[in-house]
Amino acid sequence: MTERMTIRLEVNGRAVSCEVEPRTHLIDFLRDSLQIKGARVGCEHGVCGACTVRLDGRMVRGCLVLAVQAQNARVETIEGASDRGDLAELQAAFHARNALQCGFCTAGMLIAAAELIEQKPHASRDEIRKFMSGNYCRCTGYQAIVDAIEDVLEARLQRTSAPVASC
């Protein structure tokens, strides 16, 4: 039989040490071992994006990373990112635009949208759709999600281009 391995990593700012089976993927580890259940288990083969979490600051598919591969890494889930206030603007926009119904995809959508905003601050609607294409939503038809992300991008651009008041 295979040996369980002890891994040490940081999850949502907290040091964690835990024994896992090598075959356990990151999302099962987060949900079952740590009871952090914001990110969902969807297709388990990298297609749906419901399990999107951050690994060392970049979004990844939680089902396509083994927990043992996250040794010494920094993992952040929707809980951590949300508590830090990192997603507040996107969350408000998703709420305002009704960009979720059942909510199953939302954790992944928000993490993906946050990476889009960071990397493509000037993204057009078409570019938003392309970037977000890795995350399935079976409720909204995507229109409202694209609207919400577009709202945040526009608001940010307006803020950066607004004249700075002199003292």
């Binding site: 040996e3 993927h25 990298g46 994006g49 083994l66 889009l116 890795g134």
Partner: protein, 296 residues
């Protein structure tokens, strides 16, 4: 689904990888980014005894230029290629193709070397490597060897990589002022495996002939597939926006049907892609000439 049980090791040096491959043979699988392997493990399409994680081998990282070659370490991720200025300057085809490789969350971990080693005929990088006349640098217990991309992809998921060998890096010739390239693919959802796609490379002559053309398809056969009849036409007949359609009609590959598309549909779609690419190629030539005029 959940993966079957396996053991996991993360060697610190490559000699240990060779030793483990020797010991476990077919029962071991190398994991790099794992973006294909994890899916096959979860689906139990593959049930190895041992996963050898090569992620700690830092010598397999990094993008560099030496002489007239751009070297991409096996562990360089698709996202690193997408974001690299060095790649944009010296192998812009790869920069343009990178956003088509799966989705950003997958590109953040998936590696160039992994894609080449897996040799999925529907993947973008094998076709690009053939279109750019690249090399695959591999190493085993007996030392290193360089394999031309043309000789690397042998059959469905089958490469010239011998048991016990590992890909260290890939190299492509750096782009010259005369070289041009185009890439496009048809896909149901952006980032999914393409129905068909193609890369066209070559140097444009003032006559409209293309020197050293390569037309390479993905998603049509068991390996990246060169459209040799079209390549010959490009070498011998001037390409213009008006002749692009005729050239595309000359496409003589025989794509295999997939779950959703008949062979006939795939051939049609291959011609659609090729016509678009050749039009863009011809337009780039015209634009290039006009730009040249301005400098005169």
């Amino acid at each position: 689904m959940k993966a079957a049980a396996f053991d996991y090791v993360r060697p610190r040096d490559i000699a240990q990888v060779f030793a483990l491959l020797e010991e476990y043979g077919d029962e071991a699988r190398i994991i790099a980014g794992g973006q294909t392997l994890l899916a096959t493990l979860n689906m139990r399409l593959s049930e190895p005894q041992l996963l050898i994680d090569i992620g700690a081998l830092n010598e397999l990282r990094g993008i560099s230029v030496s002489g007239d070659r751009l070297r991409i370490g096996a562990l360089v991720t698709h996202a690193q290629i997408e974001d690299s200025d060095l790649v944009r300057r010296h192998a812009p085809l790869l920069s343009e193709v990178a956003p088509h490789v799966a989705h950003r969350a997958i590109r953040n971990l998936g590696t160039f070397g992994g894609s080449i080693a897996f040799a999925d005929p529907a993947a973008e990088w094998p076709a690009c490597l053939v279109a750019l006349r690249g090399w695959v640098i591999v190493s085993g217990a007996d030392g290193e060897r360089r394999i031309q991309a043309d000789d690397f992809f042998l059959d469905l998921y089958t490469t010239a990589l011998q048991p016990g060998e590992v890909i260290l890096a890939c190299e492509v010739p750096v782009e010259t002022a005369a070289s041009n390239h185009q890439f496009d693919e048809l896909v149901r959802r952006h980032g999914d495996y393409a129905i068909v796609g193609a890369a066209v490379t070559g140097s444009m002559a003032a006559t409209g002939l293309i020197e050293n053309p390569r037309v390479v398809f993905l998603g049509t056969g068991n390996v990246p597939e060169r459209a040799r009849a079209v390549e010959t036409l490009l070498e011998t007949t001037a390409l213009t926006v008006d002749t692009a359609a005729e050239f595309a009609d000359a496409l003589d590959i025989e794509p295999a049907a997939d779950l959703y598309h008949s062979a006939q549909t795939k051939l049609h779609l291959s011609r659609v892609v090729l016509k678009r690419l050749l039009c863009k190629f011809a337009e780039a030539r015209i634009e290039g000439r006009h730009e040249g005029d301005k400098h005169d």
